[in-house]
Amino acid sequence: MKLLVRLIHDSKPVIAQVVKETGILINVDRARSDAHEGEEALVDVPDESCLLVSELMQKFGAEVSVLEEGIRHDEDECVDCGACISVCPKNVFYFDEDWKLVVDTKKCILCGRCVVSCPHSALSMSD
């Protein structure tokens, strides 16, 4: 499951601390540090540890939310060209045997690269 972790104040090593205390392996999919909006990381944790990890992170001062959805795919606009396939760092897109585009949103880290690559504006960010 993917968690969006926001560190609002100064950058304490929240993720490292959680890994050390629980021994749960956390994968950082994407991270950003911005002078105005603070630090944010998208992390991948095993489904069964999700609750424990998010409670601990909150205890250490982070804001945690579950990333429910990946990229949005408008099937009406999509023409199954596949322009998105090679620009995605997580292999979210592929063709089935009938050359129809399959979107595996569970793997999506919302990096947004595919959004501008789609000639048909068929991909958009959630919210």
Binding site: V79, C81, A83, C84, S86, V87, Y94, V116, P119, H120
Partner: protein, 503 residues
């Protein structure tokens, strides 16, 4: 054995013609042999669906009261051609809207029209005795027009070179997003289903031949612009009535930082007249080869990285210098199959009979590049040859002194061999002074990733670099990376001075 076009058309009318799509043909010939396939198959349908930028439509709006001869006109704020009399125009697919987002263009006007949406027409005229009206604004539906005839100068490319980008930056091109350092490959085309790939000598495809265009029955007008069949890059000029088109086979698109374009489905049914047709329509993706070209080089002749077949491109991965690189397609193979299958059902149900070209297209023609009579302006014509430089190990106070003396904001930094290794700007020096930690030497504060130009680079390319990287100067280097001059953004002003190098 040979079959006549009349015999094939008789079978189509009777509903007994055997029609197959071009991707089925290699297996049929493999199974039945060439003679057997000739006997069995009457028609092979082809199809392609992709970006066809050189497309548009002639429109006639009918006369207003009082009448106007439209000299400038806009459809949903996309300008259409005003050089035809009086209420005729041509709307081109790639023209951008002047007021809406740049992602809206002529292609979107065309898609909106065929989707039944209302389009705002605005027009101006200087007025005349016979056409006194000066302006008009009205809302129009497709059904309100007398004619809406799509006429596309260049459609259905026989094949198209694939694209890669070996530069350090992501490029946004008409071939889609190209990741830096050869991070992906992008291609376009239907390969085995492509109409001209199934008739490369243009025996069957020519003027007057019936086609599917944008979902409507249409025809080939003749050779397309830039038609270059000698190099296997033949093109077609096509036409069909927009009133019969639909969104299944016509979609407006927007290529990021390139502009609007039109995705179109084009398909041609081919009569199986003789063994030669059987052989040609048995073409497989493996047989159709293009080059992968490097779009990181901004020139007409982009370097070839390697040849590649459509079979490899469609596999999703290609090998380049030992690395697996992922592939994206810009055209839709799924839609190309739908085009071929739709044509197949039209012919099977007797809605479309076939004809041979009334005029043949030249299969040996080669397109030429543009003849340029005026010299392209090069960097060397406006660069500043006297350039003040500094060594990596010099003190930043020396850099500050030189910047002041040279009245410049950029100092190219050289190593002991005189090669360019960085640039130090007034901003870098100011930053170093404001934060006096141990940064005292030029090499501690300079920018190392320097964007450069060459003396013989066209000025437009250098100007694009200044704009793209948002910088204000480019060191000019020679082949040995020696800094021989500098080009400042302000030097571009020389081009517009009267009596200067104005082209």
């Amino acid at each position: 054995m040979e079959k006549s076009i009349d015999e094939i058309n008789r079978r189509i009318r009777e509903g007994s013609a055997r029609v197959v799509t071009a991707d089925e043909m290699p297996d049929i010939v493999g199974e039945l042999g060439e003679e057997g396939a000739l006997k069995e198959v009457d028609v092979v349908t082809t199809g392609t669906f992709g970006a066809m930028c050189s497309s548009g439509a002639f429109l006639n709006f009918g006369h207003a009261e009082p009448p106007i001869k439209m000299e400038r006109l806009w459809l949903n704020d996309v300008e259409a051609y005003g050089g035809l009399a009086a209420v005729d125009t041509y709307i081109g697919a790639t023209n951008k809207s002047v007021t809406r987002m740049e992602s809206y263009g002529g292609a979107h006007v065309i898609e909106d029209f065929i989707s039944g949406k209302s389009i705002e027409l605005r027009a101006q005229s200087s007025g005349s005795d016979c056409y006194p009206r000066r302006t008009i604004t009205t809302e129009l539906l497709l059904e309100d027009l007398n004619q809406a005839i799509m006429v596309n100068p260049r459609n259905a490319y026989q094949r198209y070179d694939a694209a890669i980008n070996t530069s350090d930056d992501t490029l946004y091109t008409y071939m889609g997003t190209l990741l830096p350092h050869g991070g992906n490959v992008s291609f376009s085309g239907a390969g085995t289903l492509n109409p001209i790939c199934n008739d490369p000598n243009l025996r069957l495809i020519g003027s007057g031949v019936p086609i599917l265009l944008g979902g409507a029955p249409g025809m080939v007008i003749g050779e397309g612009t830039q038609h270059s069949s000698a190099g296997n890059f033949a093109t077609l000029m096509t036409t069909a009535d927009m009133n019969e088109m639909n969104r299944d086979f016509l979609r407006a698109a927007y290529m990021h930082r390139y502009g609007p374009t039109l995705y179109l489905g084009v398909g041609i049914p081919l009569p199986v007249l003789d063994i030669e047709v059987v052989r040609r329509t048995a073409v497989r993706d493996e047989d159709i080869v293009v080059n992968i070209r490097d779009y990181g080089v901004p020139s007409r002749s982009r370097p070839v990285i390697r040849p590649i077949s459509y079979a490899e491109l469609k596999s999703g991965n290609v090998e380049i210098n030992g690395d697996e690189v992922r592939v994206s397609s810009l055209s839709s193979y799924r839609k190309a199959r739908q085009v071929a299958q739709t044509l197949k059902s039209w012919v099977e149900e007797g809605h479309m009979t076939l004809s041979l070209p009334t005029r043949m297209i030249d299969p040996s023609k080669q397109a030429k590049p543009m003849r340029e009579t005026r010299k392209v302006i090069l960097v060397q014509e406006i660069m500043q040859r006297r350039v003040m430089t500094i060594k990596e190990d010099q003190d930043i106070t020396e850099a500050a002194r030189k910047l002041l003396k040279g009245e410049t904001n950029h100092l190219p930094v050289l190593n002991e061999h005189g090669q360019l290794t960085g640039v130090v700007t007034t901003f870098d020096v100011t930053k170093a002074v404001a934060r006096p930690d141990r940064k005292v030497r030029v090499q501690d504060v300079m920018t190392r990733n320097v964007i450069t130009t060459m003396a013989d680079e066209p000025i437009d390319i250098a100007a694009h670099k200044l704009d793209h990287y948002r910088i204000s100067a480019l060191p000019v280097v020679d082949a040995k990376n020696q800094c021989i001059a500098i080009l400042h953004a302000s030097d571009l002003g020389k081009l517009f001075k009267s009596g200067g190098n104005q082209p």
